[in-house]
């Protein structure tokens, strides 16, 4: 059974509708990616799943329960964790404090010490900078921290918005590998990406989004070989 299901969601900002009957589902333990061009509604879909935007119609089902109307902090407590676009760190707080704030949901708070050790293992750079203010780090380190803060929440689903935005290729590769490793440890991940080529390489399943609706979906290896996708996003 799918861990998260989005059924025919319509949503947007004010009068402006962005999502048009968007549907998707996440299988547990898989890394699913949501790709599409700029302004296609990927971030809007994530924000609607998280409850930062209320769906106008349609539903969001998490683990068999309708969570469409819950606020973000309740969803975080249930295990729906989003790493927002542009990192959104607590920039005046230290790296360690940012990670502590990640460990707010009750499940996560009990294992904070172990999780912190695990994070410092995956991202040794963060251990070196533990007492530094988050806002003073480089963009790549900040993105690492944003992902690490998400992991500290012990997500049942980790949703990452624009992982690679503004990062050097080497760093991007590192972060993709880290996500892949988490997926191999059993974490369910939804990755929203503009770097379509990388996203398809690293993921199990893919949704291609266009103008607020799902255009195409399937196992990533098939989507990668789809004529339309190759032409529109991969430039082949």
């Amino acid at each position: 059974m799918a861990l998260l299901e989005v059924h025919d969601v319509n949503s947007g900002y004010g009068e402006l509708q962005i999502l048009w009957d968007a549907s998707m589902s996440l299988e547990p333990g898989q890394l699913t990616t949501l790709v599409g061009s700029n302004g296609s509604g990927k971030t809007t879909l994530l924000r609607t799943i998280m409850g930062q935007l209320k769906p106008w119609s349609g539903s969001v089902i998490f683990d068999g329960e309708d969570v469409s109307k819950l606020p973000p902090y309740t969803k975080a407590d249930l295990g729906l964790i989003m790493v927002p676009e542009g990192r959104q760190l607590f920039s005046s707080m230290s790296v360690r404090e940012n990670l502590e704030m990640g460990a707010t949901p009750k499940r996560a708070r009990a294992h904070m010490a172990q999780n912190l050790e695990r994070i410092f293992d995956i991202f040794p750079r963060l251990a070196e900078r533990a007492d530094q203010k988050a806002g003073t780090m480089s963009g790549g380190e900040q993105q690492m921290l944003a992902v690490a803060r998400g992991i500290m929440s012990e997500p049942r689903i980790l949703m990452v918005d624009e992982l690679s935005l503004g990062l050097a290729p080497v760093l991007t590769l590192d972060l993709f590998m880290a996500l892949r490793k988490l997926r191999n440890e059993g974490l369910t991940i939804l990755l929203v990406e503009q770097n379509v080529r990388m996203a398809l390489k690293v993921s199990d399943y893919a949704y291609v989004f266009n103008e607020g609706r799902v255009n195409l979906s399937g196992p990533s290896s098939e989507v990668e070989n789809n004529e339309e996708v190759r032409r529109a996003y991969l430039g082949i």
Partner: protein, 286 residues
């Protein structure tokens, strides 16, 4: 002359700590939610009269009364937050200015009806302490020490406890805090409650050393604005620093000029800082 200067400076510093404490309440609320609490002065008066009434009619020691008023201040802060602030928190700043100003008018109105605007005294003396050639009134020393303890506790709370860190996280990035599972509305109410508590406690401490009346909070509110600008808007430690500077001015100026020059110099400094260093001497938030 030297002895007078030292005694006056010390006197000023002692009262300055209490000014700093009052200003901390104002700057904490602004730093966390960008709301300027115009009910700050009357809330200081609530603290003054709370301590006065508990002491005069129930015979409770002023410093015990202060603890009781701290709890009442916190609860009053929650109440004011949910009634007057929560719904306008994302509105343009004028809305929260007007709504907290309304709270200001209501407290003053009720207070004036019940207590008139006459002056009251907490008849409480701790004698005085002598250090070498200068002496300090005991009540002033106690009040300043209490203000320092409260400041220290505030810092421990904000930097060492989870709720304190939540307040800092919400101040930093409210949407992000929600994504981690932090219920931001409750945290904002807590921050507002603590801000009000600091104003109330500062008022209670003032009552142990100076005569009080229901409008007396107003002048401390104005001083708080000067202090907050001196120290940096939204910076609690800056408020303590600004309070000490203001206290020093009030202590030292009368030694060389007429006392009426004190506000002139204070507000000239206020304007000067706004012109030359609007982020305050210790830096504003962000």
């Amino acid at each position: 002359m030297g002895e007078v200067l030292i005694t006056s400076a010390l006197d000023g510093l002692l009262i300055g700590v209490i000014y700093g404490l009052a200003a901390m309440g104002l700057t904490l609320i602004f730093g966390v939610m960008d709301v300027i609490n115009l009910a700050h002065g009357p809330l200081i008066a609530v603290g003054m009269f709370g301590v006065y009434l508990l002491f005069t009619f129930l015979g409770i020691n002023p410093f015990v009364a202060l603890l009781i008023m701290a709890v009442i201040g916190l609860l009053l802060g929650f109440f004011i937050y949910f009634v007057a602030v929560n719904r306008v928190i994302d509105a343009p700043p004028l809305s929260s200015l007007l709504s907290t100003f309304s709270v200001n008018m209501m407290i003053i109105g009720v207070g004036t009806a019940l207590l008139t605007t006459s002056s009251y005294n907490v008849e409480y003396s701790l004698g005085s302490f002598e250090f070498g050639f200068f002496r300090v009134p005991g009540a002033r020393l106690m009040a300043a020490l209490a203000a320092l303890v409260v400041t220290g506790l505030l810092y421990l709370f904000m930097y060492r406890t989870r709720p304190g860190k939540y307040i800092r996280a919400v101040a930093d990035n409210r949407a992000s805090a929600e994504l981690m599972g932090i219920p931001s509305t409750r945290i904002l109410a807590l921050a507002f409650g603590i801000g009000v508590m600091l104003a109330v406690v500062a008022g209670g401490l003032i009552a142990t050393i100076l005569p009080i009346n229901i409008l007396a909070g107003g002048s401390f509110e104005l001083k708080s604005f000067v202090i907050v600008v001196l120290g940096g808007l939204g910076n609690p430690l800056g408020a303590l620093f600004g309070g000490l500077i203001l206290g020093l001015i009030e202590g030292l100026v009368p030694v060389v000029m007429k006392t009426t020059w004190v506000p002139v110099i204070e507000y000239a400094l206020f304007v000067l800082i706004l012109l030359v260093r609007p982020q305050g001497l210790m830096g504003a938030k962000k």
